[in-house]
């Protein structure tokens, strides 16, 4: 968990400019974030997930789609 509870996650070091570090340190004062690292982890996870999922394309073929639409019609989900 990113906000202070016990974790067994292993950590590594990533370098960021000291100027950015100081900006973040000021930014997170009086927020729920306990360190610059926890803030950076939070923000990166949000961005990385969005980038990963943007690459997604549905796995079905046109044939699968036709078959499924037919089933959905029979079940009354589509007219």
């Amino acid at each position: 968990m990113s906000r202070g509870s016990k974790s067994k996650t292993k950590y590594t070091t990533v370098s960021i400019p000291i100027t950015l570090y100081n900006r973040i340190k000021n930014l997170i004062q009086d927020t729920g974030f306990t360190s610059v690292s926890s803030y950076v982890t939070y923000v990166l996870r949000e961005i990385v997930a969005a980038h990963e999922e943007a690459k997604y394309s549905e796995p079905y073929t046109e044939e699968d789609k036709k078959r499924i639409i037919e089933k959905l019609r029979k079940l009354g989900y589509l007219e």
Binding site: E46, E53, K55, Y56, E58, Y60
Partner: protein, 385 residues
Amino acid sequence: MVAPPHGGKLVNRVASEKRRKEIRDEVGELTKIVVPKDIAVDVENIAHGIFSPLEGFMTQEDYTHVLNDMRLSNDLPWTLPVVLDVDPKEIKDVKEGDEIAILDERKIPIAIMEVEEIFKWNKKDHAKKVFKTLNPKHPGVAKTMKMKELLIGGKITLINELENPFHRYTLRPVETRILFREKKWRTIVGFQTRNAPHLGHEYVQKAALTFTDGLFINPLVGWKKPGDYKDEVILEAYSALIKHYYPKDAVVLAVLRTSMRYAGPREAVFHAILRKNFGCTHFIVGRDHAGVGNYYKPYEAQEIFKEFPDLGVTPLFVKEAFYCSKCGGMVSEKICPHPDQYKVRISGTKIREMIMQRVKPPPTMMRPEVAEAILKFEKPFITYS
């Protein structure tokens, strides 16, 4: 836009017809383990991508990460262990790298597993972290303590579907994703339930539907604690509600076949991930989601979402709804300024008591058509002998 599946890949672990025949021929040679119904349905859930990105039961690395950090070993949010427990005697000749056959209670092979790891686990540590209590009265703790000594992890391949009394209401993620697109829904809000709907549920669903294109009502059918509504009652009650009170093209009703864990906050995130895999962009989290007794704070299941900026599904937090005679309708504490004397609290427990006495709850609590649908059942609640 229909939400991408969790982890960016919709898992499909269903054997092709050709592979299915090959596996059926091989099954006779394999070690066989018989699993209870709640595990068997989760085998299907894994195979059909409802638990994407899981491709099987968890190995120790994923299990430990989930228990301690609420994330898989690849850092993706995942809050509940999905494990297969076995007795050492059942797998005495099995080693890592072997294949085993998974049989349902009818002794029919439903899947094979590629065994990656067999490991010991600590039930108390598991219960304490997942349920936040060791109280044996908690249904999740009680169930955990009865589980077997070892866990076995590895990918599964589904070869036979289970019997399904809810076939009419069963949709796989690949099907809902096509359905939502065909309906031209760009925003879809998922609603988890294990209850027959009262006016509070309807208020919350319609409030969410006001800002989204479609509502996906996805009742959980499967193992639940005694006193909860039977699955078929929930479906009949929702069918009545939708027929009489919802716009026809704005709602999809389909079941989620899995067991309730009663893990409160952790289960709320788990429920959100499952609905994301069905294609939901939003997910409703109400008061005491997936809670039981007083083990969790009323809005703890909403607080936990702060931990997951990378969930990929937007939680919609709603306060408790009630009827206000001064406002003249359903409201919540967020929008109603009136004192308690005007408020009619909708208690699920109170409604259940009335139903048990064959009394129709008042229309300020439950729609008459819904009450009638429930009262058609002589015994609408779960009992275990």
